[in-house]
Structure formats: structure tokens, C-alpha cells
């Protein structure tokens, strides 16, 4: 049962195509797992469609239209089949199917940090937004840290817990500068993370990690 959902504002912005590629992908991956949010997105799309297409049409250059229209209908139609692809990532001898939104996203190789493995996506540079797959092996833990900026975490498989709760497949949570947490996973998990600023480690030796800057996520 999914308990943590994106806000309706975020779903509306997602439906309008106004979010970054990273955030759009994360919301899309959540909707793929969550019927309730998928319905909210459909409602938002319907609202937008009616708002845009109910505008009274201003007549435009008919000759230009006629030619464009004619050229399109000269194209073949039957060949346009949409193939559903299934792309997997393999980590710790487990195969995970990537969400639809990430079927063609460009991936970098896995990098390991002890029990944590990270695979970063190659994205366009938009204000330091980064998207990664984060795998925590069973019993794995991320040292205490806070976030400068925002971090979205979507559980794709398995589960993890932090000081505030327990999160399962489909749950999406938002963390920002006010939160200080140290996630850990008993059974192991694969998450999709979207961050718009580096993490800041707060305790003991883990503060050394700050020196490495954007090492994790």
C-alpha cells in the first residue's frame, strides 16, 4: 500500500510538462506504481486539454495549413507501432526492470560506496539537478546527513526506514534542509533519487564525505 504521494500541485505541473526531466521521470515512475496518482494526472491532463483547445480558434493562413495537412496524409500509417521495451539493471545479482520513464534515459556505470551503489543518469544541466538509482544492500545505512535544497526519493523495490517512517515500493518522499536523517534498509532496496543540491553530512567521520562534495546520490 503506497502511503507517500507527490502533492497535487506537483502532479499538475508534471501533467503540464513544466518540470525538469529528472523530476518528471520520478513523478512518472510513481504514477506507474500508483493508480490513484495516475488518475489525478489524467484529470489534470483533461483540465489542461479543455483549457487549451476550447479557446476560440483564430483563423490562420489556410494555404499553409492545406499544404502541411496534405503532406502529412501522404505518410504511411501502419508502420507506426509502439513497442513496449523492458530494460533492466543488474545489481547484487538482482535484475530490476526500469520504470517506463527511464527506458531510454542514458545511464553511467554503477559506483560502489560500501553497501551503497549508485548509478547516475546523464541529464541536461539544469541548475545542478541530478538523478540516480541508489541501491542499498540488506542491512545498509547512509550516514547522518541533511540536504541543501530538495531531494525526492522514490522506492522502486524493497523498503527502507529513517527517523520519520518506513517506506515501501511506490512511496515517494521529499526531504529538504530542515530534515536530518540516516536512512537504513533491513531487506535492501532500490530507489530513484532526484536532488537539486549536494548532501551535507553532519556526524563524526562521515563529515569527511563533505570534502568529496557530490559523492553520493
Amino acid at each position: 500500500m503506497i502511503k507517500h504521494h507527490p502533492s497535487s500541485t506537483l502532479i499538475a505541473a508534471h501533467a503540464a510538462g513544466e518540470l525538469s526531466t529528472a523530476l518528471s521521470s520520478a513523478i512518472s515512475a510513481h504514477c506507474e506504481l500508483c493508480d490513484q496518482c495516475q488518475q489525478l494526472r489524467r484529470d489534470a491532463e483533461s483540465e489542461l486539454a479543455f483549457a487549451i483547445f476550447a479557446e476560440p480558434a483564430t483563423p490562420a493562413s489556410t494555404t499553409m495549413f492545406a499544404e502541411l495537412c496534405h503532406n502529412i496524409t501522404e505518410l504511411p500509417t501502419a508502420a507506426a507501432e509502439v513497442a513496449q521495451t523492458s530494460r533492466y539493471v543488474c545489481i547484487n545479482n538482482h535484475n530490476y526492470r526500469l520504470p517506463n520513464a527511464l527506458q531510454h534515459a542514458k545511464l553511467q556505470p554503477w559506483q560502489r560506496f560500501g553497501p551503497i551503489s549508485r548509478m547516475r543518469f546523464e541529464l541536461e544541466q539544469t541548475d545542478g539537478v541530478r538523478m540516480s538509482l541508489l541501491h542499498m544492500a540488506a542491512g545498509g545505512q547512509i550516514p547522518h546527513h541533511t540536504h541543501q535544497g530538495q531531494e525526492f526519493t522514490l522506492v522502486l523495490a524493497g523498503s527502507f526506514a529513517d527517523e520519520d517512517g518506513h517506506y515501501q515500493q511506490g512511496d515517494i518522499i521529499l526531504r529538504n534542509g530542515q530534515h536530518q536523517h540516516s536512512p537504513q534498509s533491513d531487506e535492501g532496496c532500490l530507489c530513484l533519487t532526484v536532488v537539486d543540491a549536494p548532501l551535507h553530512f553532519t556526524k563524526g567521520l562521515s563529515q569527511v564525505l563533505n570534502l568529496f562534495g557530490q559523492s553520493l546520490y
Binding site: 510538462g17 484529470d43 507506426a80
Partner: protein
Amino acid sequence: MSIRTGHSMTSNNHVEPQQQQWLNQLLQRVASNQDKAAFAELFDWFAPKILAYGQQRLRSHGLARDLLQETMTSVWTKAHLYHADKGQVITWVFTVMRNQCFDMLRKVQHNREDCLGDDIWPLIDSREAVSDQLSNNEQIKQMMKYLGNLSSQQQQVVQGIYLRELTHQQLAQELGLPEGTVKSRLRLALAKLRSFMEKHHD
């Protein structure tokens, strides 16, 4: 921005039910008969509105015209993916246009050539895809089980080529083997996998 619940409509974003039905019939004619006259009517109804949307989002006449062309081309070539029971024609055309516009913006602003819009907002219902996905997952699970019966060298090449999607050359380099050895090892591994599968399907 806020979402109004349900389909409550204000007076300025109202499309008459008869008009929706008319658009629906036009698209059905395009989907089943490649009806050019029906497409021309759809085109006339949508074109000025798509241009206005493109102008607003892309801030250029040329790009707005490209958006119109790409959107209506998809409507023509993908009309068979539209199902009347899953929503209105105008909602479907909106999703096609939004996906296209998203990729155009990425291209213009960030020089990205790849198309992600139709992955992020799939045009086919994901519920249909899920059943495929499940049976596919079952097969994958089964396959992974058989994979465990191969020698570790054979597992290595199958995983390298099919799971990590390396080329023969990349994998050969990684293993420090000639490419020919990788290929023949893979051939043997696949033959063995096949024999496992056949045995268990009898």
C-alpha cells in the same frame, strides 16, 4: 497551480458534447480507414490552437510550426493507439502535443536530441503494458534460474552482453580475451540455455 477535482468546467473552457463526439468520430475514421477528409477536418480544428500553444511555450513562430507538424503527424500515424473509452480526443491530442513540446524544449534549451516525452507519458495505457510486463518478468525469472546452471565463465558473458548490454568488443576487453573467444563462449552458453528451456517446456 491547483487541480480542480473531476471535470467541472468553467464557461471559457467548455467544448460542447456534440463537438467532442464529432471529433471522436473523425479520429475513429482516421484510425480505421486512413480517412484523409476526416483528418483534414481534425487538422483545421486543432491547428490554430496548437500553433498558439507552441508560440506560448516555445516563443518562436518557426518552432510553433514544427510543433504543429510533429503533433499532427503523430495524430495521423498513431491514431490507432487512441481508444475512445479511455478519454476524450482532445485530451489525447493534448498528451501527444505536450510530449512533443517537452522534447523540443529540451532540444532548444539543452541541445538534447533524444526523445523522452513518450517514455515519461506513455501514449498506450500502462495497464495493458503491465500484463505484458508480468509475463515477461516471469520469463526473466525463469531465465535467471537457468542462468545459474551455466558455468561461471558462461554466466559472465551472458550477463555482460544481455544484462549490461556491452558490445562483444567491450566485454572482450574487460575480460582480457580475444573477441572470438567471447563470441564462441556466448554461443555455447546460449545453446545450453536453450536446451534447459526446451527440457522444461515439454
